[in-house]
């Protein structure tokens, strides 16, 4: 079946675009297209346009900004649907700008959506509500497809297992119900943001460590900075550690040779 072979061979960005759009569409069919749709369109429009312009200025050629569409979909799907439109646009613009400005050795440091959402959240008190993440089964199925297709199971587990263990310990220690606290695990964040290849480490072993670090940081921020979104803060902090992790991983690999 050529059709399925073609689908299977799609790149990660196209998978993300299809899955993120399906989740947003599903939620909008369920809850109404307003006010979410205009926000989503503004986020995607600003990201795509800005990325295309920057790309054109750098390379003097036009290309369709697939990764910017992913960024826009993430920004629009995580910010609250009643956010001010200019904040949505600004978050999208910051996301794309950070991708082109904050770089080390040709790779951007921060997951672009994370930087945009951080600015919106820290400076404009924008609530991050993850409005299209509610369909856990769909997110899980998409996550499994992405993990199977792009060999990311180790990263998903490296985040999920420590996070579940830490939350269980926290719930038991405080006499809270355990399972609902384990389900604080944000699958949407895990499937669509933690696995981002450009801002996660290059080697499998190092990537596993990165997953564990991100999980630990999410738990830590959940405690010390509860007024901000722990997932987004933890990914930003973990992204900062990636150049060092890559460097140490490379040195160790050379030594082992």
């Amino acid at each position: 079946m050529t059709f399925f072979r073609v689908i299977w061979k799609l790149n990660l960005k196209l998978y993300m675009i299809i899955f993120l759009s399906l989740l947003a569409l599903g939620k909008m069919i369920q809850s109404g297209f307003l006010p979410a749709l205009p926000h989503l369109l503004v986020a995607v429009g600003v990201s795509a346009l800005l990325d295309a312009v920057i790309h054109y200025r750098k390379k003097r050629k036009l290309s369709f900004p697939l990764s910017a569409v992913v960024t826009g979909l993430l920004v629009g799907s995580i910010l609250t649907p009643d956010e001010r439109l200019w904040v949505v646009a600004l978050a999208a613009a910051v996301a794309i700008s950070s991708k082109h400005i904050i770089r080390i050795k040709g790779r951007h440091i921060f997951n672009p959506a994370v930087s945009g959402l951080l600015v919106a959240s820290l400076f404009f008190s924008a609530p991050l509500v993850w409005w299209s993440s509610g369909n856990t089964w769909a997110v899980l199925i998409f996550g499994l497809i992405i993990a199977a297709r792009f060999k990311r199971f180790h990263l998903l587990l490296a985040y999920a297992i420590p996070f579940a263990l830490l939350m269980s310990w926290y719930a038991l220690k405080n006499n809270y119900p355990v399972w609902p606290h384990i389900m604080f695990l944000n699958f949407y964040f895990l499937v669509f943001m933690v696995v981002e290849p450009k801002t996660s480490p290059l080697r499998i072993k190092v990537r596993t460590i990165y997953g564990v670090i991100t999980a630990g940081l999410t738990f830590l921020f959940f405690h010390i900075l509860p007024e901000y979104d722990a997932s987004i803060l933890s990914l930003a902090a973990a992204n900062l550690a990636v150049p060092t992790l890559n460097y140490r991983g490379k040195r160790r690999a050379i030594r082992q040779q």
Partner: protein, 150 residues
């Protein structure tokens, strides 16, 4: 054979997805309460009515007991009068939640079973969204309430 399995898997997957997406209801819909689904839709109607203020006045402060739960706040909406000093006594009844009312600079964590006291002056009129600021599970995106200052 492999192709047929793939077709079946994709068809089943899409059917399940459509089913889940269309059938999944918010907790509020299930228990028959009036609740908004997307923040903006809900607010216009509320502001047209004049609501009886929530809670009671104690020593010149409007004291309102609130509950946070998966996935909502009670009472919803909360109604107060402009200029009143408001004290919210908020308790989470199940898991850790957060309460955020951006317009009044409120953002607090709500551990289960512990009453958290939040004080502010309702110095502007309008309908403001109460968000949960801690990701508290799959329905987190549906967890919000509103406060009406009239």
């Amino acid at each position: 054979m492999k192709s047929i399995i793939r077709v079946v898997v994709v068809v089943v997957f899409l059917t399940v997805l459509i089913f889940i997406t269309r059938a999944q209801k918010t907790p509020a819909e299930m228990d028959g309460e009036h609740r908004h689904q997307m923040h903006g839709q809900h607010h216009g109607k509320q502001t047209e009515e004049v609501l009886t203020p929530s809670g009671e006045i104690i020593d010149g402060v409007r004291v309102i007991k609130m509950e946070a739960f998966q996935y909502g706040f009670k009472p919803d909406p909360v109604a107060v009068k402009k200029g009143e000093k408001v004290r919210l006594l908020v308790t989470s009844t199940d898991v850790v939640h957060g309460i955020m009312i951006r317009e009044f600079g409120i953002n607090e964590k709500l551990p289960p079973g512990k009453e958290v006291v939040i004080e502010f002056t309702a110095d502007k009129t309008g309908t403001f969204t109460i968000h949960c600021s801690v990701f508290c599970g799959s329905g987190h995106g549906n967890m919000y309430g509103s406060i009406i200052v009239q």
